[in-house]
């Protein structure tokens, strides 16, 4: 590109300085788009990184892990192995989830053997520096070590007592040391001696796993000595599924960054194309005085680069600031759902930064490219006429719409018809949204044509016509609002459908009056056998069901296998999607019920069979039915209790479901507590479990709500900036109207009516788009990610709400422009020409 003449540069600068508002709006549009994408990306990666860091600190330098399938490992396995000559470095670990008195978040209690740690987690072995520590650590049965940040969060210092709650029992621990600095012994971990962990977690004689550092030779050495039922996994294998965020939450975050990307792109496109379109008069003049198309194109692109760089820079700063609040929110949700992670600072990660910067620059340049080409190509005189421009834009509208329809259909078929994975689903979703956005201008034209025939009152008719007249500038703003609104509808319908499905499913499943467990919301807890017998034998118990759980590997997945003694009313609670005629007879005979996600991923149907590792080798179990299940995306299998006990003996009861005789629930509850004696029991009403489960559900999607709001805000700013710019540009037009006799109020009303129409159009286009999006989300994304289906549940309120939000956004966006348009004195404007 050759150097520009000073005149050209001056003309460009002069225009921008005279139209400071427009320059600022373009900058703001770019900055906001970049900021939203960056903030969402940083918040997501921040939460994910914090979660993974905790897991990594736990793993240390271990390369392998010894585990027993689905159950804690007997500690003799470790003791025997470490006594053999030639044994590689090994470290036993006992860990589990606990709550801390007065805290909502869960913490991981980790018990380790200080003497085995040095090769694994230097920071743990390093604890021993300094006199007397080892003695206190081993001989004080309640000794606890925490990282400085954790101690601060819990408000404890050295010497303080911390109550740890597990299985409803409280164990006081005493803070022996608070570790500071980078040697901090694992954030958000409660570190105790392995004996203390066994005692608190009820795992005497058991280990959660054994960490190992193995060369290839050493791996062989260990494999040759593995007792039956013990698996040697690489750390990578182990990490899958266990230490990651739940797939549902992860998917949620991904979907949200996608939405942010889309809205951000539209915002930038809106701002830039608007700024270009408005200047066609200037471009026309420049062409008229002899500026070549090449020079003009260069000038426009140069300006675009400058604006893109400035806007992106602003956006990055704004995005980092925004990310701090958002990260806290995401981290809080992760903490409540999983376990406490603390995100102390936002780390600006390179991939997120690159994505945001690339978006800022590319979207800006792309948005400028077409108008710039257009401006450069058109002959001098026509480029001065707006009518000519609108004419040409209108000609391309059908083309855009055709492209949009193709994209939309392509997206739908990619997501729904063609085979493919989750990525194909998201790609389809993205195509669907872009396609719908491209169709939007045509929709506006069509609706305009319809409205024009409706015989609206004068000012409104004018508004409708103005909208059509200014299509080139308003279409992108309307499309941006439409995208934000439709995403809101799509995600909203998906969440509603899922909420409804989960609620119904839980309501059916939780048919008993009372549920008895060691601790209703902790994992891996069991009931003592005598308590089970005593409770089930209570006279007030009319019926009871009994559940034993065990995690087992099946086709590379970790599947929950539940041995159940199912009372008739409990059987009715299963929503059988696919079953033979003799389901329950088959079940009693040893066939199993498999959950929908498992059936989907493994292609199981009644008549098929599954193979599970059992005590006597591999057990082959026939499938009796597939049931609807949202409890686990990995899959669950119900087996008759008698069969379960043959295959996996020694697994204690986790949960008892009790049906009270004659509805005497309160009486029964008292009797159960008495029968349990000193053992801490959680006796819960079905309703309470349902409520707690739904509360967890709501917490999972709270981030979603916030992000929806955020994208709506951004779209709102988009509409506002488009209206502002339009109003500024049309100052002269309003002056003429004023001169023709329109009152200030009428001018204001005109601007407001145009804005409201934009909102209405955007919302109207958003509803079908949003429903299509929800369809893809439910039928394709959810199915492929989790394997479950759910009935489509459209809440009229949500649709109405979206419509109102669209109108409200438009109305709010019109307030200032309408006020300004009405205030301006027409005389100076008219004198200018």
């Amino acid at each position: 590109m050759k150097a520009f003449s000073p005149l050209l540069l001056r003309a460009g600068l002069r225009y921008l300085s005279r139209h400071r508002w427009q320059a600022l709006l373009a900058l703001a549009g770019i900055a906001l788009g970049v900021a939203v994408v960056l903030a969402v990306e940083l918040a997501n990666s921040g939460a994910r990184a914090a979660f993974e860091l905790s897991a990594e600190q736990l793993r240390g330098k271990a390369t392998h892990r010894l585990v027993a399938a689905g159950a804690p490992l007997a500690d003799e396995v470790y003791v025997r192995l470490q006594r053999e000559p030639g044994a590689p470095p090994m470290a036993p670990v006992v860990s589990g989830w606990v709550r801390v008195g007065g805290q909502l978040a869960r913490y991981r209690l980790v018990g380790f053997d200080l003497f085995a740690e040095a090769p694994f987690r230097a920071q743990l072995a390093g604890l021993s520096a300094g006199g007397g520590f080892v003695r206190d650590w081993l001989t004080q049965a309640d000794a606890l070590v925490l990282a400085e940040a954790t101690a601060a969060a819990l408000g404890v210092a050295q010497g303080d007592t911390l109550d740890v709650i597990h299985q409803g029992r409280t164990a006081p621990l005493s803070v022996l040391r608070v570790e500071s600095g980078s040697a901090a012994a694992g954030q958000d971990l409660l570190l105790v001696d392995i004996a203390t962990a066994q005692s608190i977690l009820g795992l005497d004689g058991r280990l959660s796993h054994v960490d190992l550092i193995l060369s290839d030779d050493a791996e062989q050495w260990v494999r040759q000595r593995l007792p039956p039922g013990v698996q040697l996994l690489t750390v990578a294998e182990q990490a899958q599924g266990v230490t990651r965020l739940s797939a549902a939450f992860e998917l949620n975050l991904t979907a949200m960054s996608l939405l942010a990307l889309l809205v951000g792109a539209f915002l930038i496109f809106n701002a830039m194309s608007f700024s270009m379109v408005q200047r066609r008069t200037l471009f026309g003049r420049l062409r008229a005085i002899g500026v070549t198309p090449r020079e003009l194109f260069g000038l426009i692109m140069l300006e675009a680069v400058v604006v893109a760089l400035l806007g992106t820079l602003l956006g990055v700063l704004l995005g980092v600031w925004l990310a701090e609040g958002l990260t806290r929110l995401v981290a809080a949700t992760v903490s409540e759902l999983y376990y406490n992670v603390s995100v102390t600072a936002v780390h600006v990660e390179l991939p997120a930064l690159l994505l945001a910067v690339a978006l800022g620059l590319l979207a800006t340049l792309l948005a400028t490219l077409f108008p710039a080409l257009q401006a450069a190509r058109t002959p001098a005189l026509t480029s001065m006429s707006r009518a000519a421009l609108e004419q040409s834009v209108r000609r391309t509208i059908p083309l855009w719409a055709v492209l949009g329809v193709m994209l939309l259909l392509g997206g739908l078929s990619l997501a729904l018809l063609l085979p493919g994975g989750l990525i194909a689903s998201f790609a389809g979703l993205f195509m669907l949204m872009v396609g719908a956005a491209l169709i939007t201008p045509l929709v506006i034209r069509v609706l305009h044509a319809v409205l024009a025939r409706c015989g609206l009152p004068g000012l409104w008719r004018m508004g409708v016509r103005d909208l059509d007249r200014h299509l080139s500038r308003l279409a992108v703003a309307v499309a941006a609002l439409m995208v934000a609104l439709s995403a809101s509808v799509g995600v909203g319908v998906m969440v509603d459908s899922m909420r409804g499905a989960v609620h119904t499913w839980l309501g059916d499943l939780l048919s008993a009056d009372l549920y008895v467990a060691a601790d209703a919301f902790a994992e891996g807890e069991t009931l003592p056998a005598d308590v089970v017998v005593a409770v089930a034998a209570l006279p007030l118990v009319a019926e009871f069901s009994r559940y034993r759980e065990r995690e087992l590997p099946l086709a590379g997945r970790s599947v929950e296998v539940i041995g159940a003694r199912l009372a008739p009313p409990s059987r009715q609670g299963f929503d059988l999607i696919d079953s033979g005629a003799t389901v329950w007879d088959d079940f009693d005979a040893g066939a199993v019920l498999v959950s929908e996600p498992l059936a989907y991923h493994l292609g199981l149907a009644p008549g098929a069979s599954v193979e599970l590792p059992a005590s006597g080798g591999v057990a082959r179990l026939g499938v009796a039915a597939v049931f609807r299940d949202y409890a686990s995306e990995h899959g669950r299998i119900f087996v008759d209790e008698a069969r379960f006990r043959q295959l996996w003996p020694g697994q204690p009861v986790h949960t008892l479901a009790l049906f009270a005789a004659d509805g005497e629930v309160a009486e029964l509850r008292r009797a159960v507590s008495e029968a349990a004696g000193r053992f801490g029991l959680a006796v819960t009403h079905a309703r309470a479990i349902l409520e707690e489960s739904m509360a967890v559900f709501e917490r999972t999607f709270r981030v979603t709500d916030v992000l929806r709001l955020l994208s709506l805000t951004v779209a709102f700013i988009g509409v506002l900036s488009a209206l502002m710019a339009l109003q500024l540009e049309r100052g002269k037009e309003y002056a003429v109207l004023r001169a023709l006799g329109l009152t200030r109020a009428q001018i204001g009303a005109l601007i407001a009516s145009e804005s409201l129409l934009m909102g209405l159009l955007a919302a109207a286009a958003a509803l079908p788009t949003g429903l299509l999006m929800a369809w893809v989300l439910i039928e394709s994304v959810q199915r492929r990610a989790f394997g479950w289906t759910m009935p489509f549940n459209v809440d009229g309120g949500l649709l109405l709400q979206t419509l109102l939000i669209g109108l409200l956004a438009a109305a709010l966006a019109a307030v200032y422009p309408a006020w300004r348009g009405a205030q301006r004195d027409p005389a100076p404007q008219l004198r200018e020409d």
């Binding site: 030639g86 021993s128 049965a141 392995i194």
Partner: protein, 375 residues
């Protein structure tokens, strides 16, 4: 008395193997002042030692060890020294709470070393484990003391003993026979007094010449070896007085069939202490005690360790009334045991009026430890 301080230090700094921090090293004075002894039994008077029971652990006492050293020779003539020691350390008296089998009030510390005399190198390793859940422990019948994969194992009778221990660098796989020498009770019938204060004493017995054979590994090289070992067994709770800073301990096997053990206690000024003691075992197995004034020790040469500490690695040892005038020289200067506790323990050769071989232990010379005055 030997090595007691090492254990006392170990319990205070345990598991700090890779660190070289000054804070991790404590003076004997500090160790002795520790309240850890509360509740442990003490050695006040001689008692009849009973076997095999007393080969096992005595958890009522704070510290105890099974201490093997020996000089070995490979088939091709290459000379080696080795050390295998398991220390039991009581962190707190009494039984731990029964809520978990991993609870422990006792820990074991293990040191192994191989001196490759002709190769000019010394290799050593350290290991810890709690005395619980089968990770480490000792029992008398059938005899076994172990720490993870390191173990010393006998039968219903103590001998023959099998020793197995290895680390990345070295490996020991040895078999020790009873030989012709009987068990020697040190001090007064096994009670070894270390100072004038009652209770500052240990129970101490030795096997002074155990024919030993087996395999020894350095890196990937394995050697068939044979020679003689010396086993010391000692348990106590409190032994050193406040003014005692360290000791020089000799275990010598002379070619005329006699063995000499002598420890010289040093006070904080580096002067020999009146409670220094020893014993001389005759070729026929009979033995006599050696008092402090019966033995004269003169350092001949010092070796300077990297940290500046000076260790006397050559001595003149005289026992006038036995006609012994010996020169004891380290076979290798650097036989420093640089672990949680730093001391010098190495193979020596005896010349002068009589020839022989043995082991020398030098403690209390570490400059890095505070409150230390080397001679």
């Amino acid at each position: 008395m030997r090595r007691l301080w090492a254990v006392l230090l170990a319990l205070l700094v345990a598991c700090d193997g890779d660190r070289r921090q000054q804070e991790a090293r404590l003076s004997v004075g500090e160790a002795m002042g520790s309240a850890a002894d509360a509740g442990f039994a003490r050695a006040f008077e001689p008692r009849t030692l009973r076997f095999p029971e007393d080969h096992g652990a005595h958890p009522a006492f704070a510290t105890e060890w099974w201490y093997l050293t020996g000089n070995l020779r490979a088939d091709n003539g290459r000379r080696f020294g080795y050390q295998f020691t398991l220390f039991r350390v009581g962190l707190r008296a009494g039984e731990p709470p029964p809520d978990s089998a991993w609870r422990a009030h006792q820990i074991y510390m293990g040191h192994i070393a191989v001196s490759d005399i002709d190769g000019g190198s010394h290799h050593s390793a350290e290991r810890f484990a709690r005395a619980a859940a089968g990770l480490a422990g000792a029992r008398s019948s059938p005899f076994e003391v172990w720490l993870g994969p390191w173990s010393l194992r006998g039968g219903e009778a103590l001998f023959p003993l099998s020793l197995a221990a290895a680390d990345d660098d070295i490996g020991l796989s040895l078999r020790l026979q009873a030989g012709s020498k009987p068990l020697v009770l040190q001090g007064e019938d096994g009670l070894s007094r270390k100072s004038a204060r009652p209770g500052n004493a240990s129970y101490y017995y030795s096997f002074t010449r155990l024919p030993t054979g087996g395999e020894l590994r350095i890196g990937d090289r394995r050697y068939r070896v044979s020679g003689h070992s010396w086993l010391d067994r000692e348990w106590s709770t409190s032994a050193l007085d406040e003014d005692q800073a360290g000791w020089d301990w000799f275990a010598l096997q002379l070619e005329d069939g006699r063995e000499l053990m002598f420890y010289q206690l040093r006070d904080t000024q580096g002067r020999p202490h009146a409670f220094s003691r020893g014993s001389l075992v005759q070729a026929d197995g009979s033995s006599r005690a050696l008092l402090a004034d019966a033995v004269r020790l003169t350092p001949l040469r010092h070796w300077r360790a990297e940290d500046g500490s000076r260790y006397p690695v050559a001595w003149r040892l005289q026992v006038a009334d036995e006609g012994l005038d010996l020169v004891v020289r380290a076979l290798l200067d650097d036989q420093l045991m640089d672990h949680s506790v730093r001391y010098w323990e190495g193979a020596v050769q005896v010349s002068g009026s009589h020839r022989g071989s043995g082991y020398l232990e030098l403690s209390g010379y570490d400059q890095a430890a505070p409150d230390r005055r080397s001679p």
